[in-house]
């Protein structure tokens, strides 16, 4: 088990962390990604990907059940031995590191272009990182509790948003269905499956803290279902309100969606709601990834406590993020060329290997 073993997460906390993690950063980018390839059928690919995502998390919970008391990294070394397991861990760790700098970049990009145009990006990133470090130092249990506090807010604000948008729906935007066949839809699903759902592999690192083993699968399914519902709804709304073209052209279509709200004469421009939802969720996403980063690193060298390295590692992230990711274009091509395949490898093939090897090991022992 990574980190200190005293901490305990309840099933509900795990669920809310999964929900916030899944919608974190995805909710802002995904409609654009999907609309780019699947056009007006983006919402169909969202549904397909969510169904696939449910199967993925089902697989994850099976993997968890092999050794409920061990984190994914511990499982890997235990099952595959020091070297192969070590390789799996190394790849996964690099992936987590890239993921966290990508999250940080997402945040910086959004704030720089949309909200705080004049503030230097380093300041924004440092401030955000400090917040994350503060909460991570308080422990994963605390992150879980905080997520429990914020989840109703996020859901409530989202619902509010949906209600406000009812007035500006245009059904025509959905037509025609499946204009170019199934392939673009699947292409979109390919993106969506990797972007939030396969990233959920990270939760296998913190599931050992969950106080009830039997409830983990339920949490995984519930969380993914709710988050998937949110993502589908968001995509659906984007297509309905903005149309496929506008959705595809904007980097942050949901934010534009917020600007479209106009109820009566007084309720206008509620993009702040979107900003808050997204901001809270991305914060949790980074907090969870960052926790896993520091905890597994300190666990690797058998250090007593993960807290001392939070500050240096946070500093490293803040420094590396702008070096690794320089522009929107570069990140978009990076996503497509490197990150999505890498996600499939880390989130699907490697765990599959671990799982199969683990099953074989179980059987051997059984005989």
């Amino acid at each position: 088990m990574i980190g200190s073993s005293k901490e305990k997460i309840s099933q509900k906390q795990l669920t809310s962390m999964i929900i916030l993690f899944t919608i974190g950063s995805a909710i802002l980018f995904i409609p654009s990604f999907l609309a780019n390839v699947a056009k007006q059928d983006a919402w169909i690919s969202a549904i397909v990907a969510t169904v696939l995502g449910l199967f993925t998390v089902l697989f994850y919970s099976k993997l968890y059940k092999l050794y409920p008391k061990k984190s994914y990294f511990e499982c890997a070394t235990f099952i595959l031995g020091k070297w192969i397991g070590g390789a799996v861990i190394l790849i996964t760790y690099i992936y987590f590191f890239i993921l966290s700098s990508l999250i940080l970049w997402d945040l910086g990009e959004f704030l720089k272009t949309q909200v705080l145009v004049q503030t230097p990006i380093q300041v924004i990133l440092i401030l955000f990182m400090l917040t994350v470090i503060y909460t991570v130092r308080l422990g994963i249990e605390n992150v879980g509790r905080t997520s429990e506090v914020f989840l109703p807010w996020v859901l409530g604000l989202f619902l509010l948003m949906c209600v406000f948008l009812i007035w500006s729906l245009e059904k025509g935007n959905l037509l025609p269905y499946l204009e170019k066949g199934v392939m673009p839809v699947l292409h979109g699903s390919y993106y969506l499956l990797s972007f939030p759902y396969l990233e959920l592999i990270i939760f296998l690192m913190i599931t050992p803290y969950v106080n009830k083993e039997t409830k983990v699968q339920k949490s995984f399914l519930q969380g993914t279902l709710v988050a998937g519902g949110l993502l589908i709804t968001t995509t659906f709304l984007c297509i309905l309100v903005l149309g496929a073209d506008v959705t595809a052209r904007n980097t942050f279509p949901v934010y534009v969606l917020g600007k479209m709200v106009s109820v009566g004469e007084f309720l206008e421009r509620l993009e702040i709601i979107i900003a808050i939802i997204w901001f809270l969720s991305i914060y949790f996403k980074l907090a969870i990834v960052f926790y896993v980063l520091v905890a597994s690193l300190s666990d690797f060298v058998k250090a007593k406590d993960y807290r001392p390295i939070t500050l240096p590692l946070g500093m490293l992230l803040v420094v590396m993020s702008p070096i690794m990711f320089t522009s929107t274009m570069q990140v978009a091509s990076f996503d497509k060329e490197v990150f999505f395949p890498l996600t499939y490898i880390v989130g699907f093939f490697l765990p599959l290997i671990v799982y199969i090897a683990g099953k074989i090991k179980h059987k051997k022992r059984g005989i």
Binding site: S10, K12, Q13, L111, V115, L116, T119, I124, L127, F128, T131, Y134, T135, L138, G139, N142, V143, R145, T146, E148, V149, F150, E265, F266, E268, R269, I272, A275, I276, F279, L280, Y283
Partner: protein, 550 residues
């Protein structure tokens, strides 16, 4: 008066002594062999005590004789003002000097010493205690008891004669209610425990008492419901109280600061109240009540955040109304915390968020204002805090002057002079009113301070800063614990049963169990079925008409 009693005393004593003269002084079992043990010589004892107390004027030491021939000497000591003078007169001096004469002493064991004789037959004071050393003697004297010392005895007797001028039970000034009991705690520990006992007559209500403070020797009582309160927490409270090693405890706040879990937080992790009904309901929920002698504010532990947003009146009003008011309080809490910072953020960073008409009117108002919104807000908020503090500390008679200065000079004149905008006045007024809605003064203070932090964040980073601040605030709150109980308890970690009485209050019949993390045994507190208006109430419908026809 005193001389008269003296005289009466002496004559009486002479008679007494006749009866006592055959008795042999018994061997003493010395329980405390400390350096301060009571010596055989009364005069020595009295001299030592007098010297140790520096001959303080309020300590009265008297020496007189019982009996005529044997001249058995006796010393009486008490503190004037702390000991109730009538009790001393009636039950100690009068007994020793007059009543002893008429005592029926036929069946007395003649082997007994003066001490035993007095203890068993003469002294009619309610509470008698033996004291074995001079330290205890002094302690008893200084806490209002009357101590008797006898010549040739190394054991003294202490008679409970505590009774001093104290405030009566009045309406509490800090937590007022429209409906509900109007009595409040007083400065006297005994009165306070009695006020709680009057509400809970259960034999499960246990009271433990200890002395804290090397110099002040303050009585501190721990009250809990045996079988409801969590034993671990009781143990922890006692452990922390025993650890305290301080010279004086003057208010429960000092105890609070010494036993709380986390020092560096703005949020109170112990609840204090002046109301016996709040303390009693806390006891019934499994909390532990700490009463400190000398202050009407008793402490409740463990405390959770939602508790500070509740008023005892919530339970005395209809549940739907109480729920609405509770929600209103949370809204007020947010307003008090965030309105000035939101104003700063919107006017400096996010003007586009406002509807155009509002933006225009806001801009035209701010046109003449020389300061940026942040300076404007800080200026007004600080002024308001100063006004508020001044209103608290100044003599009540000049209170109205403050309101004139505040409302007219600083509000209207500042706007007219163009130093601040009208909107800013509204913002300050809104925060001020909102912050008064928070039922707990401690929490209100925390909000007052946090407001300024949020204003700083808003000035630097707009909404982004505010949201970051909220995240930090919430994670700080979730990390807090009060005696091991998470501070945001029924919300995070969430507990469905607990949430029935946190943000809202369900009807009392629905509040089935006690808070889970606070009390761990005997969880069910309420088994009243939900009222069903259809069964029995329908029948009497006829009877009133029948009765009226009679």
């Amino acid at each position: 008066m005193k001389k008269l009693t003296d005289w009466v005393n002496e004559t009486k004593k002479k008679r007494e002594n006749m009866k006592e003269k055959n008795k042999d002084p018994k061997e003493q079992n010395e329980q405390f062999n400390s350096a301060h043990s009571i010596s055989q010589s009364l005069t020595d004892n009295l001299n030592t005590i007098s010297k140790d107390l520096g001959g303080s004027a309020d300590v009265i030491i008297r020496e007189f004789e019982l009996g005529e021939t044997d001249q058995r000497k006796i010393g009486v000591m008490y503190t004037d003002g702390l000991a109730d003078s009538t009790t001393v007169q009636e039950f100690v001096l009068k007994t020793l000097m007059i009543d002893i004469r008429s005592a029926h002493l036929e069946n007395i064991d003649f082997e007994a010493t003066t001490l035993e004789l007095l203890e068993k037959h003469s002294l009619s004071g309610g509470q008698l205690k033996k004291v074995y050393n001079l330290k205890n003697v002094k302690q008893h004297i200084l806490s209002g008891d009357t101590v008797l010392l006898f010549d040739g005895e190394t054991v003294g007797l202490s008679v409970a004669t505590k009774g001093w001028k104290q405030r009566g039970v009045e309406e509490p000034s800090s937590q007022t209610v429209v409906r509900g009991p109007k009595e409040g705690f007083t400065e006297s520990l005994r009165t306070n425990t009695a006020l709680i006992r009057r509400k809970i007559k259960s034999d499960n209500l246990w009271i433990e008492q200890m002395l804290i403070g090397k110099e002040t020797q303050t009585d501190v009582a721990i009250l809990y419901m045996k079988g409801i309160a969590n034993d671990k927490i009781i143990k922890e409270v006692k452990k922390r109280l025993k650890k305290i090693d301080i010279d004086g405890v003057l208010e429960s706040a000092m105890i609070e600061e010494l036993i709380q879990d986390e020092t560096f937080t703005l949020f109170p992790t112990l609840y204090n109240t002046e109301r016996p009904d709040v303390a009693a309901s806390g006891l019934l929920e499994g909390r532990i009540v700490i009463i400190v002698d000398g202050t009407p504010f008793v402490l409740l532990a463990p405390a959770v955040f939602v508790q500070f947003m509740q008023s005892s009146e919530d339970y005395y009003q209809r549940s739907d109304i109480a729920s609405a008011i509770r929600l209103l309080r949370y809204v007020a809490f947010m307003l008090a915390l965030l309105v000035p910072s939101a104003y700063i953020a919107v006017t400096t960073f996010h003007q586009e968020m406002l509807p155009t008409t509002l933006l225009v009117s806001l801009a035209s108002q701010r046109e003449g204002v020389p300061f940026p919104a942040f300076v404007e807000a800080i200026l007004m908020e600080v002024t308001f805090e100063i006004l508020r503090e001044a209103g608290l500390r100044m003599p009540r008679a000049v209170g109205s002057a403050i309101s004139i200065v505040g409302a007219l000079v600083l509000g209207q004149a500042a706007v007219e002079a163009g130093i601040i905008s009208n909107v800013m006045v509204i913002v300050v007024a809104l925060t001020a009113i909102s912050s008064f809605v928070i039922p707990s003064y401690n929490l209100g203070m925390a909000v007052r301070l946090l407001r300024f932090l949020f204003m700083l964040l808003a000035a630097a980073f707009g909404m982004y800063g505010i949201i970051l601040g909220i995240i930090i605030l919430v994670s700080h709150l979730t990390s807090l614990r009060s005696f091991g109980v998470p501070y945001l308890s029924p919300i995070a970690p969430s507990n469905k049963e607990g949430q029935r009485d946190s943000l809202i209050r369900l009807p009392i019949w629905a509040l089935i169990s006690r808070p889970r993390l606070i009390s761990q045994k005997n969880m069910i507190r309420d088994e009243t079925p939900a009222p069903e208006p259809n069964d029995s109430t329908k029948e009497p419908e006829k009877s009133p008409s029948g009765e009226s026809s009679k």
